[in-house]
């Protein structure tokens, strides 16, 4: 087994805003003075103003614009504004020069919902507020942060419900360890919205009083909002630059509870595994942990389960622990990083912050959290937990910079750098508008339609899914489960070592259903099903639940970087030597409303068009589509391997076509190949003439000697359509034959060895995937 790289990752900058303070200093003062940020609703415009308490940042939209020092003519979401405020603080604090080596890994659960819920009906009709249509997706706040802070390195967004931002810290640390980047800004942002308030209300887990984590009398959580970012750097270079170091990111893990979509298991298996694996990753014993900042939401279910998991792991020697959610409220996608900041404050100030509002222990577990601000002697390691819907559980350990290796188990030291392992596609499954589900001959019968958008050919879902479970599953979940089942069967594996998914827009059917009924019924008579199904990690969670899979499970949600980010994470995992195989998928669904809304901003064509002749269509926009493609990736080459994954690259807002061509050439060269070695280029032309021009330019300048092809006439335009392209490329390499319907120019070589996929979304998000013959 290949050990992890010897690089140590440290925190050199912190930025934070929440209901307990607009910066780190104010946050610290509130914690020490036991001052909660939870109170009556002043900012959120909801009919439930007098019914619930919230942890609001007491600044309205214009005040946030002022604090963020941004231009007030732009379409900002509250999520983006608080994200910018926190990210800017972190960058200034660490004194990094933002440059191409700085990645931004952000997290959010509802993205721009704070504006979408105000203007949604208008989007459907006159679209007066149409600037906010494209701020809805979860990656939008990340892009606004990147642009405003001048970050132009790798960017992506993670959404795994309430564990989201712990996962972004973990991914950022792993990127640095792998050598992919030297510096990463990591964290998350989530603003309060009526959508989440009403959603949690349907689950009947909101406390109308102040929440009381780990207390016998607890009846639910209080929601909050906030954003926080950490600057992560390599320890060596941070030390060389004389940087202030807050802490080391010494351990982390993600595990899946695989018990229920919203409730945690009775034995706390997911939380237990997350903490246990984080300890293993830090190579320390449980007894080395000095303080736990618990997830501790205040719901009956979470606190009991988390307590059980803590007791299972730590036995009788439970470290000092507290939940600080009675200060901040539950800030959902931002909770992980906000509580990481609090844990780091504990470490740096040798203080444990109290679990305010606690009185009596929960009888079943009888554990008592810290209730006053107390000093911790010799604090070296602190652990923080975040658990989310879909059973998504994460733990991260921060260690003091002074700690010696004495506390570590011996095997972790002086490990070799990561070496590059070959990665093979050993199984594939695809649901698409074409006959791809059981394709003997690739694309033999082309489905031609003359329609507004392309829809998948419905499989017989009952062949794959228990009818009882089908009742809650919308289209995207169904097609995700079917295509992943086909891929696993194809690879002949029962249960993968990790599940990685990407989706640009997530579960649109459920999001629309909940949003429409919330607006139509003025926040009354809402039901929970569509709310819980609307989280971006629903498909990944449903696969884990179905397979009883407790392994690493992440969902990337950054427009046309979503699938590519999940692929990048898969390659990292396989290179780290921690897993043997990975289930990887990309999926998006189209709905009547989401199509209509995007015709208003010319993203999609307004009228019907023939998919086969899409490149000749003169209407503005692309023809919308949908689909789900899954793969099993493995380090081990099987006899049936489709292709070898050589690499993936993403770049954001290139300055001009020259930069695009440079990035493509550099990417190919980096993998010791030349442009002439590319036997087939698969381009993302989608019939949107304005942006197809970029493909045509690149094609004529860079690929004049190569055979080129396209694919979106087969599947339509959607954020994860590159997964469909990768499915095609894998088949093409295996069959050594490219379907005529795809070819733009030239004839692929007799032996198709290397296939390059180049895709971009409106010249914003560009991506490259390179596959070769095994």
């Amino acid at each position: 087994m290949i050990k992890e790289s010897s690089t140590t990752v440290v925190v050199t900058g912190i930025g934070i805003i929440s209901s307990i303070g607009n910066n780190l200093q104010e946050t610290f003062s509130s914690l020490v003075e036991k001052r909660t940020g939870i109170g009556k609703i002043d900012i959120l415009d909801t009919i439930r103003k007098d019914e619930f308490l919230l942890g609001e940042i007491k600044l309205n939209h214009n005040q946030l614009i002022e604090l963020a020092e941004v231009d007030n003519n732009h379409a900002w979401t509250r999520t983006a504004l608080i994200g910018i405020i926190a990210a800017k603080q972190a960058i200034q604090d660490s004194l990094i020069n933002v440059n191409q080596n700085t990645a931004l890994i952000s997290a959010s659960t509802v993205g721009g919902m704070d504006r979408s819920e105000l203007y949604y009906k208008d989007f459907l009709t006159e679209a007066v507020h149409k600037d906010y249509i494209d701020t809805h997706h979860a990656g939008s706040s990340t892009e606004m942060i990147a642009e405003h802070c001048g970050l132009n390195g790798f960017i992506t967004t993670i959404s795994t419900a309430c564990s989201s931002s712990l996962n972004s810290i973990m991914f950022g640390a792993r990127l640095i360890k792998s050598g992919s980047t030297k510096t990463a800004v990591v964290g998350g942002t989530d603003a309060l919205s009526k959508f989440t308030l009403n959603g949690f209300n349907t689950l009947m887990i909101l406390d109308k009083e102040h929440c009381r984590p780990f207390d016998k009398s607890r009846t639910g959580l209080n929601l909050g909002e906030g954003a926080a970012y950490l600057v992560l750097e390599e320890k060596e270079s941070a030390l060389a630059a004389g940087k202030k170091i807050y802490a080391e990111v010494s351990g982390y893990a993600n595990a899946n509870d695989a018990h229920h979509q919203t409730a945690s298991s009775e034995d706390g298996e997911g939380p237990y595994l997350a903490m246990k694996n984080a300890l293993e990753s830090a190579a320390i014993e449980p007894s080395a942990i000095n303080y736990i900042n618990a997830h501790g939401t205040g719901t009956g279910n979470n606190d009991l389960t988390e307590g059980i998991a803590i007791k299972r792991l730590f036995g009788k020697n439970i470290p000092l622990f507290s939940s600080t959610k009675a200060y901040t409220g539950h800030t959902l996608g931002a909770a992980g990083v906000i509580e990481s900041v609090i844990a780091i404050l504990s470490l740096n100030n040798k203080l444990a912050f109290p679990n305010i509002n606690f009185k009596d222990a929960i009888e079943e577990i009888d554990i008592v959290p810290v209730t006053e601000v107390i000093e911790i002697d010799n604090v070296r390691h602190v652990l923080t937990n975040s658990f989310g819907f879909g059973g998504n559980d994460s733990s991260v350990i921060f260690s003091s910079k002074e700690h010696t290796n004495g506390n570590y188990l011996s095997e972790n030291n002086s490990t070799p750098a990561i070496k590059s392992n070959p990665v093979y596609i050993i199984g594939a499954g695809c649901v698409s508008p074409q006959n791809t589900l059981d394709s003997g001959n690739l694309l033999e019968d082309i489905v031609e339609v003359d329609d507004r958008f392309l829809q998948v050919i419905k499989p017989n879902y009952r062949d794959f899914i228990n009818p009882k479970l089908l009742r809650r599953m919308s289209k995207i979940v169904r097609m995700g489960i079917v295509s992943s089942s086909v891929a696993m069967k194809d690879a002949n594996i029962e249960n993968p070592d990790a599940i990685l998914t990407g989706t640009g827009m997530g579960c649109q059917v459920d999001t629309e259903k909940f949003l429409n009924s919330m607006i139509d019924n003025n926040e009354g008579l809402l039901t929970p099903t569509s709310f819980i199904q609307s989280t971006h990690n629903t498909v990944g969670g449903a696969i884990a639940l179905g397979k009883q899979n407790h392994n690493y499970n992440l969902t990337y949600v950054h427009r046309t970087f979503s699938f590519e980010s999940a692929l990048l994470d898969s390659l990292l995992l396989l290179n780290e030597g921690k897993v043997k195989d990975v289930l990887l998928g990309g999926f998006d669904e189209i709905t009547e409303e989401s199509w209509l809304i995007k015709t208003k901003i010319d993203y999609f064509k307004k009228n019907t068009a023939s998919n086969i002749n899409i490149l000749d269509d003169s209407q503005v926009g692309a023809q919308a589509g949908e689909g789900s493609s899954f793969f099993v990736l493995s380090n081990e080459e099987s006899n049936n391997a489709y292709a070898k994954v050589i690499g993936v690259d993403m770049f954001f807002r290139p300055e001009n076509n020259n930069e695009i061509e440079d990035r493509i050439s550099t990417f190919i060269k980096k993998h010791s190949l030349s442009i002439d070695d590319m036997d087939l280029i698969i381009l993302g032309n989608n019939g949107d003439n304005e942006f197809d021009k970029i493909y045509t330019d690149v094609e004529s300048r860079l690929f004049s000697n190569n055979s080129t092809s396209y694919y979106k006439h087969l599947c339509g335009e959607y954020d994860t359509s590159s997964a469909f392209a990768m499915w095609l490329a894998a088949k093409i390499i295996k069959d050594n034959k490219a379907p005529e319907i795809m070819i733009r120019k030239g004839h692929p070589a007799e032996e198709i060895r290397n296939v390059l996929i180049y895709n971009h979304f409106r010249n914003i998000n560009h991506s490259l995937i390179l596959l070769s013959k095994p």
Binding site: T202, L203, M204, T262, R471, L525, T529
Partner: protein
């Protein structure tokens, strides 16, 4: 009572999206959760909204649902006792 039971069956099938079920497939005394129909805690929350929407009855504590939603018959009895 029997009329209410039949009406409830139809409403439950619709509210919970039980695609394969017909009203005659559900026994009024069969348990809705666990062994019987196999509903879970999310369904219970859906049923709470059904009671409010169709019958104007509000349930404040989700734990009360366990008794009320034991079977279609217990649900019907609860509605009869609490309506008006």
């Amino acid at each position: 009572m029997e009329e209410l039971i039949e009406k409830l069956k139809v409403q439950i099938i619709e509210q919970l999206n039980l695609e394969d079920m017909e009203p005659e497939d559900i026994d009024a005394d069969e348990s809705l959760f666990g062994e019987g129909l196999g509903l879970d805690s999310i369904d219970a929350l859906e049923l709470i909204v059904l009671l409010e929407k169709e019958y104007g009855i509000k349930i404040k504590n989700p734990k009360d649902g366990q008794k009320i939603f034991f079977s279609i018959r217990t649900m019907a009895e609860f509605i009869q006792d609490n309506q008006k």
